[in-house]
């Protein structure tokens, strides 16, 4: 980073670099950082000790610091901040950084570095952090000169949150943290960045073209993604207005859940690999598709050459590189989701193209037939708890509870059941690792959410395998009295792996059994939390009730059916109209070709 933007007033006071770092964070509105100390960042820890403006949350593993910052960011819309030491501190953070990159979450991660004169010498705890994190971040910096320090931090925040958000690393050599450095105010909002100026305002002509296509459409669909959430709550409000104004069916990706209320009859549920029948058949059969802030991910499209074969596609995205990457579209709109939807509403109202009402009514009739198949139906009978039922009861009981509820998940079947059976009515209430699919995400993410929303109900819907990947964060919950609830759907399997082995690999359950599990109740107790267990269906409600009522952190070990599969499922390499609906549905594994099997 060069000192091109010299905002340094002529006679600035010089303070030790570590203090300048904290002042820059404070000026960026940071009130909490998630971190873990070490030699290279000791000057920052010393400066933290001597101030009160910024709260430091001591995690138990640097990966968890990044996920916590992600949870904080996703639930508040603010930038999440991480502080880790050089070498192993930085490398431990990498999984979290890639997670934030894939899901477009604004995070600034400060990493310690060996002093500038030792860089490149294989010094103790040296790692080439900017080299390692280059493909793991939206952007990264190595601060080599004290006069660049404050500006670099301001720049990092700007980059993390503007355009398509993402993680940014600032690597800070120890001598830079100790030497006096000048402070520089953050540049004013009006001042354009020297090189990075993402476009947010959509082109009006293109918006009009899109509106006309949608009005003439006989079988339209609106497909929304994480971009709507990232744009802020106003975008979600506008989405609601637009969908109701047009009366068009709306579906969402995993990342977009909550932008449009799940209880609204215009909502078709989630689409994609484990999406609903109605959502996927609507995508397959539509004649005009409006994609708002989603990226035609392979979990959503299924087999590309069979994806929505007869439709004209309109794609609005803030990142031009997302457009025409996987799927060729007919109308490309570059802009922020909120601005795009506002412009669509305005154009829809002004434009006089008649709406193809009759055709759309017929379309809705077909949709209602698909919806009538009730693809998420399950039967809870007997004493074995169905995982779907556990999520459903959790949803219903939290709704009765009335507190603002935030759900995070780990990765696996439980994640998909959470997406399918927990209803989200508002944005920013759902944190899941969508792009990277990182087991171990949910607990630290919930921790970050709880820090930002101390009075809210924060629940990690977990699997027994995933939860062990960052279980050490139970210690953080205890230290900061964070009343996070860990709701484990314990099927004693890496269920999603087992499901694929059942459907694609002849039922050879290679290494997918969760053997030698800990006693989660006693594990909770060892971490100063409450441990609960439900072993049969009649205990489920009591356990949930007790979990919700307990003022501190809880692990609820819900022993669920071991061999349940997550349906509907579009097997990899199949098209949207080739869904497997359930254990009895025809075709099942036979429909998966070798070509499909190579896909993840």
């Amino acid at each position: 980073m060069s000192a091109t933007q010299a905002h340094t007033p002529a006679a600035t006071e010089h303070r030790p670099g570590a203090e300048v770092v904290l002042r820059a964070l404070k000026d960026q509105g940071v009130d909490v950082i998630f971190g873990y100390p070490g030699g290279a960042v000791l000057p920052i820890y010393d400066a933290l000790f001597q101030q009160n403006a910024i709260r430091h949350i001591l995690v138990r593993h640097e990966q968890a610091a990044v996920h916590a910052a992600e949870g904080y960011a996703r639930s508040t819309g603010k930038v999440g901040v991480v502080l880790v030491t050089s070498g192993p501190g930085a490398t431990n953070a990498v999984t979290g950084l890639v997670d934030a990159l894939m899901d477009s979450i604004p995070v600034v991660c400060l990493t310690g570095q060996v002093p500038t004169h030792l860089i490149g010498n294989d010094a103790f705890q040296e790692a080439d952090t900017t080299g390692i994190t280059r493909p793991a971040t939206k952007h990264n910096y190595l601060v080599k000169r004290s006069e660049d320090l404050a500006n670099t931090i301001h720049d990092a925040f700007y980059v993390a949150k503007s355009g398509r958000p993402g993680p940014v690393v600032v690597d800070l050599p120890k001598d830079i943290l100790i030497k006096p450095a000048p402070y520089a105010e953050a540049p004013s909002k009006e001042e354009p960045h020297r090189s990075y100026r993402p476009r947010t305002e959509p082109d009006r002509e293109t918006i009009l073209e899109a509106v006309r296509m949608l009005k003439r459409a006989e079988r339209p669909v609106i497909y929304t993604g994480g971009g709507v959430i990232n744009s802020g709550p106003e975008a979600s409000r506008l989405l609601g207005e637009f969908v109701r104004l047009t009366g068009m069916p709306c579906t969402s990706t995993l990342m977009g859940l909550g932008a449009f209320p799940s209880s609204d009859p215009l909502f078709l549920g989630m689409l994609g690999m484990h999406g609903t029948v109605e959502a996927n058949l609507v995508m397959h059969g539509c004649d005009v598709m409006l994609n708002l802030g989603a990226r035609f991910d392979d979990r959503v499209t299924g087999r590309l050459d069979a994806f929505s074969p007869g439709s004209k596609k309109i794609h609005a995205d803030i990142d031009p590189s997302s457009i025409n990457k996987n799927v060729k579209v007919d109308v490309a709109i570059v802009g922020d989701a909120g601005r795009v939807i506002a412009a669509l509403i305005e154009a829809w109202k002004a434009d006089e193209t008649p709406v193809a009402k009759e055709a759309q009514a017929a379309w809705w009739k077909r949709i209602e037939e698909w919806r009538g198949r009730d693809c998420l139906r399950y039967v809870q009978s007997g004493s074995i708890i169905k995982p779907q039922h556990a999520v459903r009861r959790l949803y219903e009981m939290t709704k009765q509870d009335g507190r603002d509820t935030f759900i995070s998940t780990e990765v696996g079947q439980h994640q998909m059941w959470a997406a399918q059976y927990f209803g989200f009515e508002k944005p920013n209430r759902w944190m899941t690792s969508g792009g990277l699919g990182t087991m171990g995400y949910g607990l630290p993410a919930a921790m970050g959410v709880q820090i930002a929303h101390p009075d809210a109900l924060c629940i990690d819907i977990a699997g027994e395998a995933s939860i062990l990947m960052n279980i050490q964060e139970m210690g953080t919950l205890a230290q900061y009295r964070l009343p996070v609830k860990v709701f484990i759907l314990n099927n004693e399997y890496m269920g999603m792996v087992r499901q694929w082995q059942e459907l694609l690999h002849g039922g050879r359950y290679s290494e997918s059994y969760s053997d030698a599990l800990p006693d989660f109740v006693r594990l909770a107790e060892a971490f100063h939390a409450k441990g609960l267990r439900a072993e049969s269906a009649d205990q489920l409600d009591d356990v949930i009730r007790e979990m919700l009522a307990h003022p501190g952190p809880v692990i609820a070990d819900i022993c669920v059916a071991k061999d349940e599969n997550c349906f509907p499922m579009i097997p990899s390499g199949a098209a949207h109209n080739e869904m497997i609906l359930g254990p009895d549905s025809e075709g099942n594994a036979k429909s998966v070709t070798d070509e499909g099997k190579v896909l993840v």
């Binding site: 060069s2 090189s195 993402p198 990142d319 590189s321």
Partner: protein, 167 residues
């Protein structure tokens, strides 16, 4: 349908920027046929990267969009698409030989307007500028005459006419 594209990229002249560009190409599996870079402004704050790449239209669109979203990138211009442009490459070519071959090498160099910039009784170094095809053609002729070593810059390019690519 594959096509070749010559792309000019104006970037901040800062540490790591070339690694970002190259990492983008290797990470996403794009081709690099040639890549050149040097500072181009007075203060040395801007560099210009010229990349010659190939791919389908969709891939080339992706390459440009991916380059454009790198933070230190100011401008991306697809010279191939945007109209007539000039491409030049510099090559230093060492040819070793005696007698007839030496005479023939000199004669051909003259025809190709390659300059002799170093000579011994057994060798020449030719300097030559032109587009890649011209250099390729010259090298093909030198091969049987004792071609020993080649150093090429890769292409630099600029649009014809009065429009200018600026940050």
């Amino acid at each position: 349908m594959q096509r070749s594209a010559t792309i000019a990229v104006l970037v901040e002249n800062e540490a790591g920027v070339l690694a970002r560009v190259i990492g983008l190409f290797s990470g996403r599996g794009y081709n690099i046929d040639s890549l050149t870079v040097a500072p181009v402004d007075e203060a040395g704050k801007l560099s210009r990267i010229t990349i010659v790449t190939s791919g389908t239209e969709m891939v080339i669109e992706q390459i440009k969009a991916q380059l454009d979203r790198l933070v230190p990138v100011h401008r991306v211009s697809d010279l191939t698409l945007e109209g007539p442009h000039l491409t030049r490459e510099l090559a230093l070519i060492k040819v070793m030989g005696k007698g007839e071959h030496r005479v023939e090498a000199l004669r051909l160099a003259d025809a190709f307007r390659a300059r002799v910039v170093d000579a011994t009784t057994e060798s020449f170094v030719f300097e030559m500028t032109g587009n890649a095809e011209k250099i390729d053609a010259f090298l093909a002729l030198m091969r049987p005459l004792g071609l020993a070593e080649v150093s090429r810059t890769g292409a630099v390019a600029i649009a014809r006419g009065s429009s200018a690519l600026a940050a």
